[in-house]
Symmetry: C2
């Protein structure tokens, strides 16, 4: 793990929605680094209710947070995200070339074209036993917000700072529901906005994993090379 290396997209958080964002972004060739204050993936799901059943994830009559996390990690394995755990993002600054420099409590700094905040209801802070939740995302960040979420539009999921997106429980828009399944949708739409930033003039049609041999090779080729 080379936390200092630059990347296409930095995801703040490593819960289910952040994990699925890696898949969507990966389909378009975008490399991701995930940063989380916890020492493992899964976010709230893994800490607040690891073994409590969830009933409303589509296609799973009943699943717990640890199993969902494990399945998402398997799904994104082809895209080999970098995972930077046990540290908290302290801020980001846009550089003269338009890219962001993201700084962390462990002293690391990573450059990225795009920042995606997917830190759920806040940041986990170490404590005795399980980490406790410090509510609300990044209080000092210069982004328009409600009390405990960043305001985004429901088409691109971009915050008031161009190039900085928010998805999952960290975002707010009219009608927002704090459901995992909504976060998955937000990840998919955010990805379309990010790929237009990253590849201006690139292909604009949506490709499907079921019908596109290009996408299928990307997923299956990478999977079989790990087997």
């Amino acid at each position: 793990m080379d936390a200092g290396a630059d990347t296409d997209v930095i995801l703040v958080g490593a819960g289910p929605v952040a994990l699925f964002a890696v898949f969507q972004l990966g389909l378009y060739g975008l490399k991701c680094t995930l940063v989380d204050s916890l020492h493992r993936a899964g976010g709230q799901c893994a800490v607040l209710y690891p073994d409590k059943p969830i009933y409303d994830v589509p296609g799973f009559p009943r699943i717990d947070g640890l199993d969902l996390t494990a399945r998402l990690l398997e799904q994104i394995a082809p895209f080999a995200p970098r995972l930077h755990f046990g540290t908290t993002v302290t801020g980001f600054a846009q550089q003269p070339d338009g890219r962001f420099r993201v700084t962390m409590t462990d002293g690391a700094a990573i450059g990225a074209s795009v920042v995606v905040i997917a830190s759920g209801l806040g940041t986990f802070v170490p404590g005795e036993g399980e980490p406790s939740l410090e509510a609300g995302p990044a209080p000092g960040w210069p982004l328009e917000r409600t009390k405990d979420a960043f305001i985004v539009d429901a088409e691109r999921f971009e915050t008031s700072q161009p190039g900085v997106f928010a998805i999952g429980d960290a975002c707010h828009y009219p009608g927002k529901l704090r459901l995992i399944l909504s976060g998955f949708h937000e990840a998919a739409l955010m990805t379309q906005a990010v790929r237009r930033i990253s590849f201006p003039g690139g292909r604009t049609a949506l490709a499907y994993t079921t019908s596109s041999s290009r996408l299928r090779k990307k997923i299956e080729g990478a999977v079989s090379s790990q087997e």
Copy 2:
């Protein structure tokens, strides 16, 4: 199956998105009847690519349309939807009491408080071998539309006719992606709008299947009574 009986919500279509809508609506006590021109559930998934792998359903590194359909049918079983197969909805008319009377090619008519169009890319018509797809939803319906979808807002997913909603590939709004996972999100947000119509003044907070014993009993009680 009593196709003539009245219901809370008529779903036009029985693909994955319509099936998941039954789950969401069921959490709020709303009973559903699904109408589909096919003789089975699953829509496009079951007819156009029944055994082709889909890679982008969150939590499933790889799943085919038949398996996804079977899992969704299991997930909604506690809510016992009525299934009215092998017929096509021809139209709907609002009655003096505000409810809709929905008519079908087999001569049946069903009353419902709300109509939800979830008929994907159109209607399947019988043919030799597999049914063929008649593109575009319900050409004659008096709803604002694009060429092949009904225009909805991205908060309630309501069409230009109050009380008539559209979700999945049958709807269009800015940024719309024709992904199954987006349809799931649309089903969840549509449900919030429908429950406010159906229970004005009712509880407004979202309840979670993981933390609400009321919802859990609704799901598990119904499941265990079927075991």
